[in-house]
């Protein structure tokens, strides 16, 4: 059963690891991806970004993605936490954890989850540059290609 949260506050990676593994001894590996706010984009310096989402749809869209991961791999649990609101450079944005008996399904499912999250969950980023300008991030063909490889 996937653990899914959308929240403004930060997440504690260690606590999420512990919660995923609590009470079980059948897990052989946990894949982990943490997305963070990078301080540059398209040769401009990024000070912060605001993440907007579609509250009525977001958790359901993420659940569809985790359901698909659980269908494709024999997972022993997974966690997706996505932050929304205003975040500054260096802040955490998203956490993906996938637990399995062996490393390959754990690592593959982790990559799958973040690739699909980037193209199939209703979030939008607006970047604020250090000169005060702001712009919506445009979807990248490379992200579509990454999602399509699965």
């Amino acid at each position: 059963m996937a653990r899914i949260r959308v929240q403004t506050g930060d997440f504690d990676i260690g606590a999420e690891f512990a919660a995923l593994a609590a009470g079980r001894t059948d897990i052989g590996g946990i894949g982990c991806f943490v997305g963070t706010v990078r301080n540059n984009a398209l040769d401009q310096s990024v000070a912060a970004m605001t993440l907007e989402h579609y509250p009525a749809m977001t958790e359901r869209a993420i659940a569809r993605i985790t359901d698909e991961a659980e269908r494709r791999w024999d997972l022993l649990g997974c966690t997706v936490i996505h932050r929304v609101g205003r975040l500054v450079a260096g802040d955490n944005i998203v956490l993906v954890l996938a637990a399995a008996a062996h490393r390959q399904p754990a690592l593959d499912a982790t990559a799958f989850l973040i690739d699909w999250l980037k193209t199939k969950a209703p979030f939008w980023k607006k970047e604020e540059f250090i000169d005060g300008a702001a712009a919506w991030v445009e979807a990248r063909d490379a992200d579509d290609a990454a999602a399509a490889r699965w």
Partner: protein, 90 residues
């Protein structure tokens, strides 16, 4: 089932919200608006901001009742129809 007088709820996100100047509106389009594509054409006529928001349809995505939907998808009274750019989370 909602009757034909039940309005549609339209939601806008990201730059569609900025260009239309609204996050949510309730509309009752004429009977010949049957699909998402029809609805886009009709909404584009509501204001200069709407026309600007819908100017390039290739850059717009849609969800009907919280599920991604194509321009050919039907819209019915009472539906929640959301318009937004391609997603950029993660």
């Amino acid at each position: 089932m909602p009757d034909a007088g039940t309005p549609l709820t339209i939601l806008y996100f990201a730059w569609l919200r900025e260009r239309t100047g609204t996050a949510e509106e309730h509309v009752s389009p004429p009977d010949d608006v049957q699909t998402v594509g029809d609805l886009v054409s009709w909404l584009a006529g509501r204001s200069p901001g709407h026309a600007n928001a819908f100017a390039n349809r290739r850059t717009i995505r849609c969800a009907v009742n919280q599920d991604f939907a194509d321009p050919s998808a039907p819209v019915r009274p009472g539906d929640e129809v959301a318009f937004f750019p391609p997603v950029t989370g993660g």
